[in-house]
Symmetry: D2
Subunit: 311 residues, 4 copies
C-alpha cells in the first residue's frame, strides 16, 4: 500500500486518485461536499466495500472532514458555528450506533504538558458529565438524560500503560454503550493544523499520525462502537518539504522553466529520499505552527461545545 | 466516634488523649518519634489492635508522618533531604508488602486545574515509569528492574466515574502487585498545609478530608495492598477558628484573664457551633495558603523524588 | 486611626459606625446602594471632606463597591451582566476625569505565577489595546478611537523595582492622560474573595492589603489621574478568626449563653491578641479559598470585559 | 545586501562565504571555535571593521554562539554544564563593558502565553534580583553585591507600546549601567531551535527574526550598553523548504542523478520563489518543534542559571 502519511480519508482519496491516475468515482468510495458558510466546509467520505478499503487503507465506515478557516482569529460567533457543524454530524453518527439514552464515555488522548498534544485532555475538562449526577443525585437531572462520563488517560510515555489497556479496564467496569475518542492526527498540509476535524466511526490507532503505532482503540478491542474525533496538530518536516517541492516544480512548469527531469521528479513521491537527506542532520522534526497555543484553545472550544451539544 | 476533622493519625492520637484525658500509651497504639534534622521530623504511629482502631478511628496498620519545616523556601538540597526521608520510610513499607521486583501502579488523585488539588497529577508527570520499556524494549533496562506504571485518573466531578471504578478496571487488566495512591488530606493545622506527608498502608477514602466521602481505595476494593501518601493542602475555616479560639483562651488563661465560662468553652469542642454560625454567611469556606502554588511545586519535587528513589 | 484591615471603603464605614457608635450619616461621607439584580449589588461611597477622610482613613474621592454573588458558578450571561455593571460605573468615573478620546494606560499588578495574585496580569492579556494600531495602521481603526495601552509590570520581589518607578518611567515616556490600575485588595470577609470589585479614583498603594506597603500609585506620584480597580483575593487568618469570634459570641448572646466577659470581648477588637497567639505557631497565614483558580478565571472575564466595554 | 534569514552571525558568515565564493578568512571578521565537551560547542565571531559589517550585515562587536546538543533530553548535570559555558562567556563580555558592581537590568522579551515565545518572561521569573534588597534591607546582602533588576515588558500586540519605549522609561528612571536582553531569534536550521544561544554586545531588534521589525534596543536608543542573549525558537516554512531542497539536490548530485538545471537551482537562492508558492495556500507558516514546551523549559534553566552565575 501507498504510504499516505495522512489520517484524513479525503486526503488519502485525492492521493489515490492522483497516484493511480484514476478520475471520477472510485469503486467502494462515495463522497459528497457541503459548504456550510464562507469559512466552514464539510466533506463526507464513505467507504462501502473492501475495494474502497484497499484503495485508501482505511476500514469500511464513515469519514467526515470539517474544515474551519481562520480558526486562529475566530470570535465567539464563529466558534459556535463550527461547534454546531460538528454537533450535527456527530448526532447523525451517534444515532446510527446507539439510542438517545445510550451511555457514552468520552476519551481525550494526549499529554496535557505538550502543547500540540494537549487538545484531548483539555476537551475532557469541558465535557458536561452526567453519570455521577444520575447515579447519586437523580433528582437534579431530567428523566431520560443520557449518561456521559469522560476520561483523559494520559500517554504511554507517562503512564507505562497502553491506552487501550486502560480503556478496556474502564469499559468492562462501567459498561458504556459507545466511546468517543479525541486524538491528534497527521495531515499532509500545515494549513490544516488545528483547523480541521475528522469524525469517523471506525476507531483509532493512537500515535499513528506520528509514527508511534499503538494498539487499536475500536469495537474489536473494546467490544463497543468507537467514534473518533481526530484533529491534525503537527506535521513531519519531510512531508512539508515533499509537498512544497511539488508546488515549487508546478510553479516552474507554469513559467515553462521546468524540464523533463523535474517533471519526472514531481510525478514521483520523493518523501523517502527527502527523509533520508534530513535524518542524519536531525532536520526531520515533527513541527507545529508558532500559534499552536491559540489554535488549540479555539479548537478545544469547538470540540467541547460540539460534543456537549450532541449528547 | 469523635469528629477528628483530620486524617493524620498522630493528630488524632493527640486529640484522643486530650478529650479522653488519657496520659501515656494507649492500648493498641504504638508511637515513636525521630528527628532527621533541624527541619525534618518523622513520627511513626502503629495501630496494633481493635482497641487502637476504635480510639482514633483508623484501621490497623502503619501511619508515618513526615513534617518538613520551611518547605516554601526550601532549596534543592533540602528538597533532596526530605525526599530521602520519604524514600526510606516508603522502602520499609514496600518491603513489608511486596518483593523487590513486584509491579507497582502509582496513582495521583486530584484535579490538575485546581491548584491546591493538583499535587497528585503533577507528581504522576514526574514518575519514572518502566512498564512499557520492560514490555517493548527490555534491552534498555537492567534485568530485575521493577515494573512501574502511573496514572492520574481525574476527579468524580470531571469524569463522572468513581476513582475506585477506574482503578479497579485498570488493576484487573494490568495486574500490578501494589498500588501507591497520592491524595490530599485534611489536617487540623494550617501550618501543616503542603508541609507534611503521611504514609500509610491502609488505603484511602478520596475526598474524605473535605467532606465528600468517595468509595474506599484499599485492599478490600482493589484486591491488592494500597499504600497512601497523603498531603494536607486545605483546611476548613471552622476548624481554623475553633483551634484558634482554643489558643486564644489559653492565652487569656495564662494572663489570668479567663473565667469559668471560657475555661469550659475551651474544654468543649465548639466546631459544630462555629460551623453553624459561619454557614449562613457563606463564611465556612475551605481555604489554602496564598503561597499554595510554590508549596505544591516543592512538595511535588519531594514526593516524586521520594517515590522514584524507592522504586 | 483604627486598624481597619480592609481596603473597602464601605466596610470601613461600617466599622467606623460600629466602633464610634454613630448611627446614620457621617459628616463627609455620602453613600447610596443599588440592587442591579438578584446577584449584583452596587454601593457608592463618596468621601467629600477632611472629616470623612479622617473617619475612615481614605482620601477624598469616589469608592464604588460591586458585589457579585455566586461568581464561582457564574455562566456566560451572569458574567456579562457583572461586566456591564462594572463598565457603567467605570464610564461615569472616566468621564469625570478625561474626555472620550483621552489616552488610557491599563496596569495589571500582581504575579502571574501566584494564583491569588495573578488577576492583574491575566486581565492585561485580554485588554483590547489600540495604541499601536492608531500609531502604525490608523486606517484600521475608526477615527476618534481612544488610544489604549496595557502593561503587567510584575512585582517587587521578582523585578527588584518598585512598581511606581516602572510606571513613572512609562508614563513620562508615552504620556497617557489617565491610568487604570488593577490590584488585589484586603477585605474583612472571606465571602468577598474574588466576588467584589471596588472602583475608586484615588489611586492605590500596592500590597497594602497584605501588609507590604509599597509606594503609592496616584496622581501625586504619576502626575495624572489613577483609577483603581481592586479585588479582594486573600484574607489574613487573624482577621478571619477575629470576625468569626464575634459571630460566635453573638450566637451565644442570642442563646443567652454569653456572659459579661464575653460581651466585653465582643465589644473590643481582639485582632492584635489573636495575631499574637497565632504568630509563634506560624498559624497567621494569608489564606485564599480552595476554588481560587476558578474565581480568578471568572473575575478576569468580568474585569477585562468591563474595561474593554468602557474604553 | 543578501537576505540571510538568520540572526546568527556564524550562519551569516557561512552563507556569505558560500554565496561570495570566498574561502578562508574574510577581512573584518575573526572567528574561533572551541569544543567544551561532546555536546557543547562555542564559536566566537568578532566583527572588527566596516568591511565585516557590510559582509554579513551585523554591526561591529562580539557574537558568541553556543550550540547545545540533545538539550531536549538533558539532565541536571548537562544543563549545569551548558549554563556554566554561557556564564563564562557572559562574564567576559560584561567585564568589557562595566565594572564588577555595575547595576544590571535583565529584560525578558516575548509573550508568556505563546509557548515558543515564552522563554524571555520565564527566565525573568528565575533571575536573582538584588536591587530591592540592597535598597531596603542592605544588611541582608554582602557588601559589594551587584544591583540586579529584571522585567518582562510584554509584546507590542498585547501592550500597544514599543518595547524600547517601555525600557527607555525604566532606564531613565532607575539608571542601570547595562541591559541584558533575552529574545527569540531566527535561525536557518530547525535543529538549532531552542538548542543554540547567541550572545552579542550590539543590542537587538525585537521580532526581527519573524519579519516584524520593531525599534532597536541598543546603546543608541537606551544610552547604555545592551548585551543580547538570543535563542532561535521558530523557523519559517519557506526557509525550511529552501534549505531542504538544497540538501536534496546535493544528494541527487552525489548519486549523479542531478542535471545542469538542478545544479543551477542549487547555486541560486530560491527562497523568494518558494515563499511565493507557499503564500497563497497559507502554507508559509512559522513553525516550531512539537517538543517546544520541554525545549523551552530546559533552555530557561540554562539561561537563568547562566545569567545568575555571572552576575
Amino acid at each position: 500500500m501507498y504510504n499516505f502519511r495522512t489520517d484524513l480519508a479525503n486526503e488519502r482519496r485525492d492521493i489515490y486518485q492522483k497516484t493511480s491516475k484514476q478520475e471520477g468515482q472510485i469503486d467502494g468510495i462515495e463522497s459528497t461536499k457541503e459548504e456550510i458558510n464562507e469559512n466552514i466546509k464539510v466533506e463526507r467520505v464513505k467507504i462501502t466495500n473492501e475495494n474502497g478499503e484497499k484503495a485508501i487503507g482505511k476500514p469500511i465506515g464513515n469519514y467526515i472532514t470539517i474544515d474551519i478557516k481562520k480558526l486562529k482569529i475566530a470570535q465567539e460567533e464563529e466558534i459556535k458555528q463550527a461547534a454546531n457543524t460538528l454537533s450535527n454530524e456527530l448526532k447523525k453518527i451517534l444515532d446510527e450506533h446507539i439510542d438517545k439514552q445510550g451511555e457514552v464515555l468520552v476519551v481525550g488522548l494526549g499529554n496535557i504538558y505538550v502543547t500540540p498534544d494537549s487538545l484531548g485532555p483539555k476537551v475532557i475538562n469541558e465535557i458536561d458529565v452526567t453519570r455521577h449526577i444520575i447515579n447519586y443525585l437523580p433528582q437534579y437531572v431530567e428523566e431520560g438524560t443520557r449518561m456521559v462520563s469522560a476520561i483523559a488517560p494520559g500517554v504511554l510515555g507517562t503512564t507505562g500503560i497502553e491506552t487501550v489497556e486502560i480503556l478496556k479496564g474502564i469499559v468492562d467496569n462501567i459498561h458504556p454503550k459507545l466511546v468517543i475518542v479525541i486524538d491528534a492526527l497527521a495531515s499532509r498540509s500545515i494549513e490544516r493544523i488545528s483547523s480541521t476535524v475528522q469524525l469517523s466511526d471506525t476507531g483509532i490507532v493512537p500515535g499513528a499520525g506520528v509514527g508511534n503505532t499503538r494498539s487499536e482503540i475500536s469495537i474489536k478491542t473494546l467490544g463497543i462502537p468507537v467514534i473518533a474525533i481526530g484533529i491534525p496538530t503537527v506535521v513531519e518536516t519531510a512531508v512539508l518539504v515533499n509537498d512544497s517541492l511539488d508546488l515549487f516544480i508546478e510553479k516552474l512548469q507554469d513559467e515553462a522553466k521546468s524540464n523533463e527531469y523535474l517533471n519526472k521528479l514531481k510525478e514521483e513521491d520523493n518523501y523517502e529520499e527527502i527523509k533520508e537527506v534530513l535524518m542524519p542532520k536531525d532536520y526531520n522534526l515533527i513541527v507545529t505552527p508558532k500559534e499552536i497555543d491559540e489554535l488549540i484553545e479555539n479548537m478545544k472550544d469547538v470540540v467541547a461545545l460540539g460534543i456537549n451539544n450532541s449528547l
